[in-house]
Amino acid sequence: MSSAVAIRPPARPDRAESVVTEGRAVRWGLTGIAILFLALFLVLPLVTVFIQAFAKGWSAYFAAFQEADARSAIRLTLLVAAIAVPFNLVFGVSAAWAIAKFEFRGKNLLVTLIDLPFSVSPVVSGLIYVLVFGSQGLIGPWLIENDIQVIFAVPGIVLATIFVTFPFIARQLIPLMQEQGTAEEEAALTLGASGWHAFRTVTLPNIRWGLLYSVLLCNARAMGEFGAVSVVSGHIRGLTNTLPLHVEILYNEYNFVASFAVASLLAGLALVTLVIKSLLEWRYSADIAAGARRH
């Protein structure tokens, strides 16, 4: 939107803008309603998390993390994210390369299929893995025979997490790489670079901020996923409980302070994600989203 503003910056905003905007009272009224709505519906719940977490003071807050179950939940959440995010990173870059740099038939179908997990309910996302790997599932009997456990164990949690975060990185990178076209890579190739060298030295620097941005969002979702993980986890304390599941268990046991304390950890993660995301958007908006560049 910068160009329009740069050409005709309003000298006296109330007057110069008046032709194509609402009256001052209407503007302030609508702004007030919007902010009030956001404060009530979005900010208040977030604030509540921290208020409840510290309701009984600092010591009660920290006590929540002394528990062995809490610590194992943190460890498991980190482990799951450490597997799921890199997996989706490799997948996302690979899919974006194939889709953005080449023309082939059925491309739109492929993109739609990659998007599919976005439109599947988290609970259904968990369910489908139970149907494949569960005791009554497609390969369940074979798994039992070979003593491999997927459902109600870490592999199932990882799979469900990968599923729900599957489109994140690919969807961010595809339009970005499409917009950048292939000219720079072709130039690198004519100058004698290998394909891998061209990718590292030409493509990667062009997409790094978009990549970072999408990894950040993917990670936030991976650590926070609840529905899908809940279905495949089996809620075995100390073994298959991730942080969000631990929050649920503590809450259902009426251990509110501990529940909100653990939740505050996740809320903190969300806040940090949001802050870095916003900073990236303000600073590198053109490098993050295709079409953000306005001429």
Partner: protein
């Protein structure tokens, strides 16, 4: 053509942030005339047009429509027809709905009957020669057709004045030419007072009854195309209206000399001492060195639109372009003399 004043612009000043775009500008627009606001980008011509329309507001000065002060009048009540460079058609409305928009937007008591609106739209479509297009959408039209629709939409409200902001700026060269001629025809037929903004001197000179040349927020000159071409009041106007050659000259006793040699150019009263002489490419001729005001060696020569143009490098490093209809191609590197047969002198 009437000579009564339709719009009077008085001492208009406008500042955006810290940059002044209009300085104390005054201008009269005559009823029924087609006036061009000509100037380079940043000259303030579009801002002036927007202030007349009521889309921007001046810091100082007044806009008078007929005998009414319209300075504080909101845009909706000014009854101007504004045509934007990029058409600004309503994409979700058909051509007919676009044209009827201004009539439908009126208060119920002032709105014409449905049948009357339909008739008016039909007439306008005839006028712009797009009769079969009433039910099309803007996305189905070419740029030239869209601009004609935009014009019809502006005319539909029977505006006091029609304002066009670089109306042909976004179009191809050929379409531009056709639309220019067509706009002139429409104007001749309707007698609608019209102001249009352009940075293209050919467009301004070809189309308009009068040209107002703007530079850096000031009105340099206003007059008929012939007046501004034959009697430019400043070097700015002169330079803006076409290619010029600029040489140092001395004025003594009303005579203008270049390199000590007399020229046929007459100096205005009161101008003495060192001045600048400006000549058009066709106001130079090849001449023997003993009659020449300038000399140099030919860099290249080429034909453009039926005329021979010769680039001559002068010893001080400047290159001048000479236009000669009778000479053939001149060999590069040849030493030539140039004689000034006409031009204008200004202090700067």
């Amino acid at each position: 053509m009437g000579t009564s004043t339709a719009i009077r612009v008085e001492n208009l000043s406008k500042t955006f942030d810290t940059a002044a775009v209009l300085h104390d500008l005054s201008l009269d627009v005559r009823a029924g005339e087609l006036l061009a606001l000509l100037g380079p980008s940043g000259s303030g011509k579009t801002t002036l047009l927007r202030i007349i329309a009521g889309l921007d507001f001046p810091d100082r000065g007044r806009i008078i429509f007929g005998s009414d002060d319209a300075t504080q009048l909101p845009v909706q009540e000014r009854a101007v027809g504004f045509v934007f460079q990029h058409y600004a058609l309503f994409k979700h409305m058909s051509v007919a709905e676009n044209i009827a928009y201004g009539l439908n937007a009126r208060k119920r008591s002032e709105r014409p009957a449905k049948a009357e609106i339909k008739r008016r739209v039909g007439d306008l479509l005839d006028l712009i020669k797009l009769s079969g297009f009433a039910d099309r959408y803007p996305s189905q039209l070419s740029g030239g057709q869209r601009q004609r629709i935009a014009l019809a939409r502006a005319l539909a409200v029977e505006p006091r004045v029609l304002l066009l902001d670089e109306p042909f700026g976004a179009l191809d060269a050929q379409v531009r030419k056709d639309l220019r001629r067509w706009l002139r025809e429409i104007h001749d037929r309707t007698g609608q007072t019209t102001i249009f903004v352009t940075h293209d001197q050919d467009e301004a000179l070809e189309l308009s009854d009068r040209v107002a040349v703007l530079s850096k927020g000031r009105l340099e000159q206003i007059g008929t195309p012939d007046e501004v071409q034959e009697n430019p009041v400043s070097s700015t106007v002169l330079k803006f209206l076409g290619d010029t050659i600029e040489v140092e000259a001395i004025v003594q006793g009303g005579e203008v000399r270049v390199n000590g040699r007399l020229t046929p150019v007459k100096a205005p009263n009161g101008l003495v001492g060192p001045v600048k002489l400006y000549a058009r490419p066709w106001q130079l001729q090849f001449a023997e060195p003993d009659q020449a005001h300038l000399e140099g060696s030919v860099r290249s020569s080429y034909r453009s639109q039926g005329r021979q143009r010769i680039e001559v490098d002068r010893p001080e490093g400047k290159t001048v372009v000479v236009e000669a209809s009778d000479s053939g191609r001149v060999a590069a590197g040849r030493h030539v003399g140039l004689k000034i047969i006409g031009g204008y002198v200004f202090k700067d």
